[in-house]
Symmetry: C2
Subunit: 304 residues, 2 copies
């Protein structure tokens, strides 16, 4: 299961009950956080999400609305007696910010913080396990800033239970799921994997792109993803403001989605000038119809 829960949809200035950027990712029993704006821990609690299970936190850049909730989350994990390592992925600087605050609060955490300094301006593999990869994506912002591309690896073949035979051992089934044929002691093939398996379930992908100006070079990196989150701080009538502050308009976000032929688009990081977000949604939908707004508490599930 691959789920993205929006915990903050606001631009730099929180407004109208919208919180700064934070997303909770649940993917095949791994739990990630992408960005961690102020109030992230309260939002995680309010949504009943298992924040103590988060092992990897990915921070796009060091504007406050993308990381200021991290220190509070770390302190709360400590108070709740977390012992598991916590991995933090960020451009350099976050480690210094956290270390200084731990020093002044005389805190010795119960768990290890493991900082991973991210490169900038390139696509790089920054996390990999047997089922999932996370890569950075180049974005175009006032500060160095990374997007993140989270992909499921190809999943195992599924056993076609109707075809299983008497005498098959668990180890045979495990081999078949891996696409291996089973041989007997004399080396003769006794089960061909194609006879007992169904194709794997589909693998999904999620690209997170915030904060960024309209950046056509991004298109190739997010081509065909299942779900694209692209910031849309402004509408087209504020296009100059968007360019000046290195943010995107809703139409620009939708253009990237359309050019990259993604399956679905979420827009977020809304300016405090918009109480009502329907104009942003309409503007994006004219270019890319399968667009939704990021709304606090909404979960997007990637499944067949």
């Amino acid at each position: 299961m691959f789920k993205i829960t929006i915990l903050g949809s606001s631009g730099a200035l929180p407004a109208f009950g919208r919180f700064p950027t934070c997303q909770f990712i649940s993917i095949q029993n791994r739990f990630f956080l992408i960005d961690c704006g102020e109030g992230a821990q309260m939002q995680l609690m309010a949504q009943g999400l298992p924040y103590h299970k988060i092992d990897h936190v990915f921070i796009s850049h060091l504007h406050g609305d993308h990381y200021l909730g991290l220190m509070g989350l770390i302190f709360s994990m400590h108070l709740q007696r977390r012992t598991a390592d916590l991995h933090l992925y960020s451009l350099p600087g976050l480690d210094e910010i956290i270390t200084l605050q731990l020093k002044h609060s005389k805190s010795a955490l119960n768990f290890n913080l493991i900082f991973h300094a991210l490169p900038q301006g390139t696509r790089a593999l920054i996390y990999e396990d047997d089922a999932v990869t996370v890569e950075t994506l180049p974005l175009l912002h006032k500060l160095p800033c990374n997007g993140f591309l989270i992909r499921e690896k190809q999943k195992p073949l599924r056993i076609d239970k109707a075809k299983l035979q008497e005498g098959m051992l668990l180890q045979h089934i495990a081999q078949l799921k891996q696409g291996l044929n089973v041989h007997d002691d004399s080396g003769q093939m006794i089960y061909h994997h194609a006879d007992f398996t169904l194709p794997p379930r589909p693998s999904f992908s999620y690209a997170y792109c915030s904060d960024t100006a309209y950046f056509p070079a991004l298109t190739e990196h997010v081509r065909g993803v299942s779900l694209l989150y692209h910031e849309a701080t402004f509408m087209e009538d504020e296009r100059d403001k968007a360019a000046e502050t290195r943010h995107s308009t809703a139409r620009e976000a939708a253009s990237i989605a359309a050019e990259a032929n993604v399956e679905k688009l979420i827009i977020g990081h809304f300016s405090a000038r918009y109480r009502d977000l329907s104009g942003l949604l309409a503007e994006a939908c004219r270019v890319f119809p399968n667009t939704e707004l990021a709304v606090e508490g909404t979960t997007f599930t990637l499944e067949e």
Copy 2:
């Protein structure tokens, strides 16, 4: 007018919709913030308070639940084009924490941040203008920690309008309000102030005491205040836990209030173990009946 609005009543771990510690003070058209826990800016906005008018922020100590909302508030003031100086009063360390985060976000603020390094363990005058003083109060906590005592100075005499006479000049009235008699050019007294004035309106005082273990030496410092806020993280059945973590029980907070003969007590900084706060209130009220709970959004007004 002297008003205290509670923006956060939670202990270190936010829970049940309670936010970390923050209080907004409005006193004779001055606007102060005491502590600034995570989410303070969202709480200020949610309560419709004029946060751009805050000129002085007093931070008790450098545990995250008392200052982590400050950086976000500063960034938001900047985004909203604040130009007025902002004065920050804290034990040393906060300046370094803020400066480092400004550096990594490459932010040059539109306004001046003026750090005032507080002493610790003593009572000291840290702010004074023509109507108000703020002093530190010694507390007993795991980290160095200051309470704050905010007092109105004696107010001017009130003119008894019914007694005003023909021919009195505005400058005469101003002199009378200051308790001065008015003389004519020959030096003869023409108006005695006592004949034209009523006593001043009463001056009020507010003592903020968080975080602290039960600390009887505090009593003399808060004697007779109009309103005492004293932390009550635990109930008596967790008295050992309170002592170990240098926090107070509700009964201990009420004992200070009773010994100091204050007019009213507010308790707050509640542990996340208490969903229902009525037990804490009852425990305090048995010792000091005029006690209320700190609740987000509640305003306490000090007036006749």
